[in-house]
Structure formats: structure tokens, C-alpha cells
Symmetry: C2
Subunit: 108 residues, 2 copies
């Protein structure tokens, strides 16, 4: 079965949605802290444009990354796991096969 | 004579360059203050994207506005005067004809 065709039970959908939200919240919280920190050390125009570049890039990245579609969710979770916004405990309750796939993809 | 063909004496070029630099420094200083102030009140993601939008727009605006070319300098100064980054005292030493043109254009 292709990864895009994997079934998600209602219970798994709840777990997935919750894990997805947690990862998003963690990444947003980290971004808010990082922007506040960088902003407090702005002294010249170059610092402003560096911040601007970072925000443009982060916005683009977030738009692409947080796609809640079951057909791609295994890949989304693998990426979030790799980047540290999710851990395997957040995925407790998904089938062991799904968790194994996510874990394997996250190491690629 | 078209505005783009107006002559600038060496002395006037010095005054113009100095006025141009002053306006630029004033606007940059105000931008730095404004970004620091906005950054300190960032509490949610929307605040970050609002700041991002503002910086993109400001960058574009500054790129277009601070063009040091004698053929367009009367217009550049008129705009800076209108926006308050320059005042007529900064242009002391330019011919009265130039100052009158800049002043008139700034009120359009």
C-alpha cells in the first residue's frame, strides 16, 4: 500500500490532529521567542533586513510544512520529528506500522 | 528648462548630498525605533507577519525613494520634504529657484 493510501481510524485522526497542533504550537512559540530576541538586538538597518529575510523565509517554510492532509501526513510528521517539533511519544496510539514509517522517514 | 536638466554647481552638489544623507539617516533612525517598539509588543504570530509585511513594504519604499541622481533630485527632495524627512533649512545654499520648485512640488 502506498503511504498516501494509508487509512487513519477516527481515534488516530484525533491523535494526529493533536500531535500536529502541538508541533505547530511549539514551532510558533520558538519563532516568537527568537523574533523577540533578535528584535531586542537590532542596532542598524542591516539587522532589520536580516530579520525581514528570516521572516520571509520562515513564513514560506511554515506555509509549506503544516499541511494537514492524511495522504501526506506520514511525511509531514517525519519532517516534524526530524526537526524536533514532534517526538514519538506525541504519536502514541497510532499503529506501530505508521510510527515505524514516520520514524524511518525522519532519519532520511 | 526641464527639471531633469537643471544644473547643480559643485557647492550645490555638496549641499544636496548632505541633505540627502540627513534625510536618509532620519528616516532610518525612525524606522529602527519603530521596529524596536513594534517588536517589543509581539505576542502572537499575526504580530510577526504584520511586522514582516511592514518591513517588506518599507524596504521596497526605501529602495525606490533614495535615488541620488541629479536628474530626479528635485522630485526626490520634494517627496522627502513632504514626508518630513527634510526641511527647507537643510536645502539652504541651493538656488532660490530650486528651493521654490522643491517646495511647490512638495505641496502637490
Amino acid at each position: 500500500m502506498k503511504i498516501s493510501e494509508i487509512d487513519w481510524s477516527v481515534k488516530e485522526q484525533e491523535i494526529a490532529q493533536s500531535a500536529f497542533n502541538k508541533a505547530y504550537q511549539r514551532e510558533i512559540t520558538a519563532l516568537l521567542e527568537s523574533v523577540r530576541e533578535r528584535s531586542s538586538s537590532i542596532v542598524e538597518l542591516g539587522d532589520i533586513w536580516n530579520l525581514n529575510d528570516l521572516l520571509n523565509s520562515k513564513r514560506h517554510e511554515l506555509d509549506g510544512k503544516y499541511e494537514y492532509e492524511y495522504s501526506v501526513l506520514i511525511f509531514v510528521f517525519a519532517k516534524l520529528l526530524k526537526e524536533g517539533w514532534l517526538n514519538l511519544n506525541d504519536l502514541e496510539g497510532l499503529t506501530s506500522d505508521k510510527r515505524a514509517k514516520i520514524s524511518a522517514l525522519s532519519r532520511m
